[in-house]
Amino acid sequence: MIEVEQLSKSYGPREAIRNLSFQIEKGEVVGFLGPNGAGKSTTMNILSCIMPASSGSVKICGFDVFEQSLETRKLIGYLPETPPLYSDMVASDYLTFAARLRNVPSRNARSAVEQVIEKCSLKDVSNRVIGRLSKGYQQRVGIAQALIHDPDILILDEPTIGLDPIQIIEIRKLIQDLASSHTIILSSHILPEITQICKRVIIISEGEIVAVDSLESLTTRLRNGERLILKVRRSDGETIEKLRALDQTNAVVEQETGQFTIDCEPNANIQDAIAKLALDNNWGIVELKPASMTLEDIFLKLTLEENEVKP
């Protein structure tokens, strides 16, 4: 559905993205992951025909984004990083305007607006001026605007940035609902968000793709073994020695008093052993949990061990 080949874009002498190539199939939900300034927004701007690339090509449903720009734009709903909202307009008027701009015939515009208001739960605020809405509602109006012409492809640039946790959960749920009927490209620099919504991630760093894979295989491939975190109430100098003496542990580090990180072999399942040890010695377990891989870890791994990771 979306084919990106050798895409590059430079702003003057600075290269924002370099030779990006990837493909997205119909119905996929793909996460675009990268730190700030990695080139996510640039790529999304090119995909949604806002700016042309310096070189390379993007084909969306067979249309070239540069050569057949107008046809491509009909297929795409785009939410930029800053939602393009006219703060002096009433939400429903704004959505009607967006519908008309996106070639929704005027007789269908009204029902299209009602539908997105329903989908994005904007009923309570549809008669209010956009500038006075909370950030969460503004973001939803932004998403509603991208949905208004029922596009095949949704491009959402950091849809949850700057929202409070409840709003984030709501927006995330909305995106999950949309995932069943749309192809979605979503960018974020927050890993859990991507983990919850997307099946596949494209990780980009400094303008280049570092990895394209499903999230599970990426994390397992990156994880050379597992890491556990143990927190106890009472510990002494012997605690760490005893932990190290366990089978299948590679390294034990005391982060602070009573808190240890234990690196062990993959699929070691030594939680039982650790718990038993703690009970026998009466350490008083507060917490024993697997350390989840954070975005920082993945990035560090990917950028440091790039050759190892690339298939």
Binding site: R73, M89, D93, A98
Partner: protein
């Protein structure tokens, strides 16, 4: 064409819901009202005097003494007013990042520019319509020639188009409304001054400069003449301004 109207309609809505339009219109009407009052006053004083001195009923020309100069003054006031109307067109869209909505929609850049042009022209036409009470009063109370009034309005309207297309160009250059207004003033005044320069320059250069000046072309319209060279001048001026705007916006996408 349909898209042009969609863009224009939104801009009009935003004009009428913002205080800028109302304050600019008020200032325009007050200034023009003062000018008109002064002109009318001096006309009635002059005709009173001639009546007393000569005794006979020699009518002074209402067109020449009131209508023509009031159009001229209106052109000057518009020079200062129009950049305030056009300044937000693109600058505000860029500043509030709403331009992305227009650019990612299946709408041509030309349609966007024409839509903005149309919106500004409608707003200014409305201002001129509100100021029409003055001429309307003269038509009602005196016997002015109607021809020069109509061509005068046509001339002012065309000149407004030139100001607007320059203003849109200025607005496309920046995302700051104040800078857009200042550049708009700058260009408009420059084109205005060229006419003065013509008087000081040599005969050949003078003729060229005079042709380029916005004012010279207005004079014919105010006298009741529609000259095809004046029409060509105004229309090509407008198109050139819109073309420059298009180039600026298109090239800013590539950067």
């Amino acid at each position: 064409m349909k898209n042009t109207w969609i863009v224009a309609k939104r801009d009009l809505g935003s004009f009428f819901s913002s205080p800028v339009f109302y304050s600019v219109t008020t200032v325009f009407l007050i200034l023009y009202g003062i000018v008109f009052f002064i002109l009318l006053n001096s006309f009635s004083f002059a005709s009173f005097q001639t009546h007393q001195l000569r005794g006979a009923d020699i009518g002074l020309n209402l067109n020449e003494m009131v209508i023509e100069p009031s159009f001229q003054q209106m052109a000057v006031i518009l020079l200062f007013i129009i950049p305030l109307i056009t300044m937000r067109s693109f600058a505000e869209e860029k500043k509030s990042k709403t331009f992305a909505l227009l650019l990612s929609s299946p709408v041509r850049l030309e349609e966007i520019i024409l839509g903005k042009f149309l919106a500004c022209m409608i707003v200014i036409s409305l201002m001129m319509l509100l100021s029409g009470y003055s001429i309307g009063y003269l038509v009602f109370a005196g016997q002015p020639e109607i021809g020069p009034i109509l061509t005068g309005y046509l001339g002012i309207f065309l000149m407004t188009g030139c100001y607007v297309s320059m203003g849109l160009f200025a607005s496309s250059l920046t995302d700051n409304q104040i800078i857009a207004a200042v550049i708009g003033f700058g260009i408009a005044l420059f084109i205005w001054f060229i006419g003065w320069g013509a008087q000081a320059a040599g005969p050949e250069l003078g003729q060229v400069l005079e042709y380029l000046s916005l004012i010279t072309h207005l004079q014919h319209f105010l006298k009741g003449l529609i000259d095809s060279s004046d029409l060509a001048y105004y229309l090509s001026f407008i198109l050139f301004g819109l073309f420059l705007t298009h180039r600026v916006l298109e090239s800013s996408r590539w950067r």
